[in-house]
Amino acid sequence: MPSWNTIVITCLLYVTLLFCIAFWAEQRAKRGQFGWIRSPWVYTLSLSVYCTTWTYYGAVGSAARSGMEFVTIYLGPTLTFLGWWLILRKLVRISREQRITSVADLLSSRYGKSTSIGVVVTLIAVLASTPYIALQLQSLSLSFTLFSDVGTRPAQTAFWIASGLAAFTILFGTRHVDANEQHYGVVTAIAVEAVVKLVALTSVGLFVVFGIADGPADIFARLPDPELLSADVFGPRWVTLLFLSATAVICLPRMFQVAVVENVDERHLATASWAFPFYVFLMSLFVMPIAIMGMTGLPADANPDIYVLTVPLGAGNGGLALLAFLGGFSAATSMVIVAAIALSTMVSNHIIMPLWLRSTRHTTAASGDVRGMLLLSRRASIIGVLALGYIYFRVTGGSTSLASIGLISFLGAAQLFPSIIGALYWRGATRTGAITAVILGFGVWAYALFIPSFDGTFLLSPEVIANGPWGVELLRPQGLFGSEFEDPLVHATLWSMAVNVSALVVVSLLSRPGALEQLQAKLFVDVFTGTADRPGMALRRTAKSEDLFELAQRILGRETAWRMFTQTARAQGKASGLPDPSSDLTQRLERALAGAIGAASAHAMVSQIGGHGTVSVSELMRMADETAQIIEYSNRIEEKSRELEETASQLRHANAQLHEIAEQKDAFLSQVSHELRTPMTSVRSFAEILRDGDDLEPDQARRFVSIIHEESQRLTRLLDEILDVSVLENGQAQIVQVPVSLNATIEQALAATEPLMRRAGVQLIHAPGQDITVSADRDRLAQVLINVLSNAVKYGQGSPPAIIVQVKKTEHRVTITIADNGPGIAPEDQEKVFEKFTRLGHQTLAGSAGLGLPISREIMRNLDGDLTLSPKGPGASFQISLNAHEDVAAAQ
């Protein structure tokens, strides 16, 4: 067994080696010689901070107690890394673009650069991590005590360990305030520790399997209780543990630090996606054999949680035990260092800096070095975090409750998981929703799992845990609302997650995000679509370049600030001097500052100088979330389709009209050709007779010639009429309106139709009254009157036939009624009479082409009057209405 001195010296040497490695890596990085410091393998190995002493020693203990259950703690992260394409890749990309420094910063930045959510998450992270840090200190002092042959006090050992870790963390974790918060020294040292861990555990495993036992078959033959490998373990607890360990890789502050913040190249994730699962696979491969060997080869009262040390010691292999000890030492130190860095960044950025900024709100411009303040607050935070862990260890030291603290801590961190997923995938998640979700989930966690884990010694008494507060059974911490679960962890996970997720969803739906929140939501959710990073997405501020430079210089350092501003000036096309204070510059500066002091503080500082950003309407429109876009889009489509429908119905209507018109045209053409054909036929036949008939008598020949003459006159008339219709219908007719004496015009028409009337024996009833002057074209009006009168003569045919002509004058109108006492016109034909070529009753009368009434009506309409058929019987009664002359004059 190695002596106490050997242990102490080995540890000191090992720590010195780590210091040297870290220092060397920092120097190389400073010179820009990254080499394998930035290789995916270093990244993968650094992820092994996941394997703390709790897993290094505890996995074997767990295997001894519950068989294969320990595998879940490694399978969970395997699952997350197999799914790197979905979550981790997006997280890394966002963190790179937004310069995220911690998990609190991620949530703060996403939910509107909110200070409040940063504070809440930081407090929760510290609360959930402190016991975990205490656990590392406990197992370290425990393993030290194991080797100590002189009386040592665990508390003292733990104190020196904590102090040493604080020194290391301060030295390498806060050497500089970087714009991207990457610590090459620490990461390289941790990668080395990862190798030591793996080599140590594998060596112990190989020694157990092939040194003590005779191969794997022999080991499993020694299995003391076959129940250990039964299927009982694959129950709700298995699922819960898988879920918790899968989320822990993202939510635990230290895991977020190494996996996301320290990631220097997105492609490293691709390698880590299989290499990290392979690492944890190797770490768990020998857990079961070591546990079996411990259970069978060691006294029954040996602590399973340190089998990794006691098994080689029991076999007398001191060197291997020392190696195993170093492995455990590595696991503890790497976890504490990274956790301290992550937590101190969060405490400093989200609690100390905002407070300091507030206290110096009006004196920033004149105050001292912000960088100094920042480093100071980081260092103080590191000491504070480790001191908290140490105090926790002293207060609860030695209690067995620490053993389960790993999973309790996992569930505490898992309360951030819904908000992180919401941050990445749900644009509707709001700050209020996230804060409510995290606080409520954390409250359930504390009430149902964390506080009861003290077995009634802290806050809740054993009676309350057993019977609920004030004896209310429904509020029993481990059986909320009467739910019965065998395992308090499963119970607390279900309830806290249910409350957490519901709060996030419901409160987010009920609350309204601010402008900056919407902008950040878009930048986060759409990080891969490329549209998110368009120029003009920044909030516009007015700031002077000098002030911005001053600010950058104080936080980033003179050199970095100068480089950044010169680059921007070059990009703006300026050869020298400071760049213009464009929104691009403020955005860039804010991101660079966010890398050092967190998004909320950076936003606050830039706003302090530049004034609060305002969002223009057009920017807001652009930010408008996808739902709004979809709604707008569908509205537009709806409108389009409505328009199209309208157009289609108009087209249908127009088409029907065209169709009708075409039919009318066809009918008109056939009518015209028919009408022209009849006189043409007689003209032709008489002409043929005249041509061939040499023996025609002169009298007969003259009669034939006169018939030809009449027929061609009729043809001319017909053609004139057709021409008239087309001219009138197109509105091309030259009709003048002049004062016309109505009586004279009627007399003219009656005189013209008198021979016709006399031949038909028609009795005319007409009493010319006082003369009325109308506004009309006299010839045209006479044409209409003659037409209607001759129609009355032709179709009236009463017995004895009579025609009444009446003139009535209302105020502005004059109506001439021409009625006969014939059979009248059937109601269904009353509109038809005005159609072209319509002859009712198929009577064909010589000289009529059926165009008279249509022409007359067109004339009257052109004279601002009308020709209508009065429905009153008994005979047909046409009414010609037109304007009296006075009105036209008055109108003019």
Binding site: P216, A217, F220, F234, F281
Partner: protein
């Protein structure tokens, strides 16, 4: 990132694979599939359930490795 319509079919398949792999893995390591072989049978002296758990784990790692290679070398076929 290019828009989805610009992504060649072969690459699109890899993206799909990257999404399906964790789902497939979760199915394997969750009950009831994970407990399928929790029977008192040994193969070469090793309990079947141990072989099943570690075997599928290793297989998943191998698939992930292949997929990671394909995803980070988009031009290979």
């Amino acid at each position: 990132m290019s828009q989805p319509e610009d992504i060649p079919r072969a690459r699109k398949r890899r993206y799909d694979g990257a999404v399906i792999l964790p789902i497939f893995a979760a199915m394997l390591i969750l009950p009831p599939f994970v407990g399928l072989f929790a029977v008192p049978v040994t193969v070469f002296g090793i309990p079947l359930i141990v072989l099943w758990l570690f075997g599928q784990w290793l297989a998943l790692i191998a698939i992930a490795r292949r997929l990671a290679h394909l995803l980070s070398h988009p031009d290979d076929e």
